[in-house]
């Protein structure tokens, strides 16, 4: 009985929280990978990279403004550019309010862009929130509820993404929104390129928030614990659902960044080629998708097959091109062969 009480009141609240943090950590790694990819094409596709930075700065500024608004500080000045943003507070406040606004600035950019996609999915009926689930208030029970809610949410989203019909204007618009979300998760730099934002910068900012004001952190954790107790008392499955939504936002962000990675791969491969050949990687997804749609038109999973195969064909083509162009040993071999031939001729 005593172990059950410890499990319910001590371990159970941590289960969904830790799981959400795990998903967010994956998101952080994917963000870093995307930034690395963008850095590889920065000099050749400056406009594309500037656009991605602008989206990142826009969402960062929105997160900052949301932080100021929610804490009652208010926003007196709001301006955004491709390189920088300015969000000035209406009142100078210190203490918990300022800390909370800064927490929004540090964490908001990771969740606000996917939250917009989440709202679209919820409004268009692709995902549903089920509040009538039975919950067991133990570590295992909370994990089960977290996973089951996350699975429900992800099912609708993944089903939509996998069956994207690129001939449908609404699906196309959704894909563009998804790519814009991926591009805008975090800016690559601020202050006109003077300050680069990497995973270390983000983690350092979060560490400062936690270490410099531990009592504020305790207040936030205490609020969450209180929320857990209320949901436990009224037997509402809201506590685990909240963290499931946060983890789902990370999944949306990861999926959207997958499409961004795909775009970056195409652009990177295109840079490796010369003259008209540089358009080959760009046209491969288009050329492969149309015939695949025609071939699988009568199949149940025709849309999914067309999309997945088109993506795979493009990825394989890009990898083969990169390998072919950058395979120095092969080129050296070719050079040595031609040298032998010229020597023979002589």
């Amino acid at each position: 009985m005593s172990s059950s009480i410890i499990d319910t009141f001590f371990f159970a609240p941590f289960a969904p929280f830790m799981s959400a943090v795990l998903f967010w950590s994956f998101q952080l790694l994917v963000v870093e990978s995307m930034k690395y990819g963008l850095s590889k094409i920065w000099n050749t596709h400056t406009a594309f990279c500037r656009f991605s930075n602008f989206l990142g700065i826009l969402f960062q500024a929105l997160a900052h403004a949301a932080g100021y608004t929610l804490t009652g500080i208010g926003v007196s000045e709001f301006s955004i550019s491709v390189n920088d943003s300015k969000v000035s507070p209406k009142k100078e406040k210190e203490g918990f309010y300022a800390w909370f606004a800064n927490a929004f600035l540090a964490l908001g950019p990771f969740f606000i862009p996917p939250f917009m996609v989440f709202c679209i999915l919820l409004a268009s009926g692709f995902i549903h929130l089920n509040l009538s689930k039975d919950v067991t208030y133990t570590f295992a029970g909370m994990m089960v509820q977290f996973s089951s809610t996350l699975a429900d949410l992800s099912h609708g989203f993944v089903k939509l993404v996998a069956s994207l019909d690129l001939f449908n204007p609404f699906h196309l618009a959704f894909l563009i929104i998804l790519i814009a979300t991926g591009l805008g998760i975090r800016p690559s730099y601020i202050e006109g390129g003077a300050k680069k934002l990497s995973i270390l910068h983000d983690l350092y900012m979060i560490k400062n928030l936690l270490v410099n004001h531990p009592k504020y952190l305790l207040v936030v954790l205490g609020t969450f614990y209180l929320f857990f107790l209320v949901t436990y008392w009224f037997r509402i499955p809201l506590y685990a659902m909240l963290f499931s939504i946060l983890a789902f936002l990370s999944i949306i962000a990861i999926v959207s960044m997958f499409f961004v990675h795909f775009l970056i791969l195409i652009l990177y491969t295109s840079d490796k080629l010369h003259s008209y050949k540089r358009f080959v990687p760009i046209f491969v997804p288009l050329i492969s998708y149309v015939p695949l749609r025609l071939v699988f038109v009568n199949l149940d999973f025709g849309l999914t097959l067309s999309l997945v195969l088109s993506l795979l064909i493009t990825i394989v083509t890009c990898v083969l091109i990169i390998r072919g162009v950058t395979n120095k040993l092969k080129r050296l071999e070719r050079l040595s062969r031609s040298k032998v031939r010229t020597d023979e001729r002589r």
């Binding site: 406009a47 602008f54 491709v82 390189n83 001939f167 449908n168 204007p169």
Partner: protein
């Protein structure tokens, strides 16, 4: 290039020849982009969507095509304060409907396909026209002046000497920041390059009795001077923005007399006057000697 060189004065040389970035005329480009995107969307809705059965009927399809296009035309006209966009859309719609009726396709299912191809054709023509309009702009920056040239049928030309420039206004939208282009408006002493934003509020009351009618009207106006001119008379959407702006600033600086230089010029003028007087005196002296 040769034509441009013929314009040059003595000791004048070209620093840069610029044309606007195609994306800097996004307002103009959006006229044809909207037409084709809306036509594709309507065609898809009338062919494959769940509303296909309703939209494929001509008495639904045609009003929807007209309604949305005209609504977009009104919004664009109000935003740009140019009613010609609305009239352009109205004439395109009228032309399309006339062709549908003339060929006897109006009541047939081919109407939706015709709207798509007709819109694509009109959009292509408009795209070519807007491309020609953009490319008709030419800005020649020399060491002495800026020459603004342009016009497809009616040719326009403006020459602006750097010493006449009092102020330089620069603006860069989001697209400009992404693609590194922007608009530079050189404002002259005469106020060339300045426009005005006007707001007006008014209201009227009218009551009519059997014999007498009273009419009352109150109103108010506000005018703000703002840098604005036609794209032919400004450096519209020039690339690379920062580099061009710096070049213009430097050229203006080179041609503007600073207070110290003004003093130097005055001293030189005085010296010239003295030398002239000395010359006259010497001439008089030599004349007296000869006598």
């Amino acid at each position: 290039m040769r034509e441009d060189e013929e314009l040059l004065l003595r000791d004048e040389h070209i620093k840069k020849i610029l044309t606007p970035h195609p994306l800097s005329f996004m307002g103009l480009q959006s006229i044809w982009i909207f037409l084709i995107v809306w036509a594709i969307f309507l065609w898809w809705m009338a062919t494959y969507s769940q509303y296909a059965s309703i939209l494929s009927k001509w008495f639904v399809l045609l009003p929807v095509w007209w309604g949305v296009t005209l609504f977009a035309g009104i919004v664009a006209s109000l935003t740009a304060i140019r009613w010609r966009i609305f009239f352009l859309y109205a004439s395109i719609l009228a032309g399309g409907t006339f062709l549908l009726w003339y060929n006897g396709w109006l009541f047939k299912s081919i109407a939706k396909d015709f709207i798509l191809f007709y819109s694509a054709g009109v959009s292509a023509i408009l795209a070519i026209c807007s491309f020609a309009y953009i490319k008709s702009h030419r800005y020649i920056i020399t060491n002495l002046r800026i020459i603004f040239k342009g016009g497809i049928l009616k040719k326009r030309e403006r020459t602006l000497r750097y010493d006449k420039i009092t102020d330089i206004d620069g603006s860069q939208g989001i697209l400009g920041q992404i693609f590194d282009f922007g608009t530079i408006i050189p404002i002259t002493q005469s106020g060339f390059g300045l426009g005005s934003d006007q707001t007006f509020a008014g209201g009227g009351v009218e009551t009519k009795g059997k014999k007498l009618g009273i009419f009352g009207f109150v109103g108010g106006g506000k005018e703000v001077k703002t840098p604005r001119t036609r794209s032919y008379y400004e450096l519209h959407g020039v690339y690379p923005y920062r580099e061009v702006r710096k070049l213009i600033e430097e050229l203006v600086q080179e041609n503007v007399l600073v207070p110290y230089e003004k003093k130097q010029v005055e001293i030189q003028k005085e010296q010239l006057e003295l030398q002239r007087e000395m010359k006259e005196l010497l001439e008089k002296q030599s004349f007296l000697k000869d006598d």
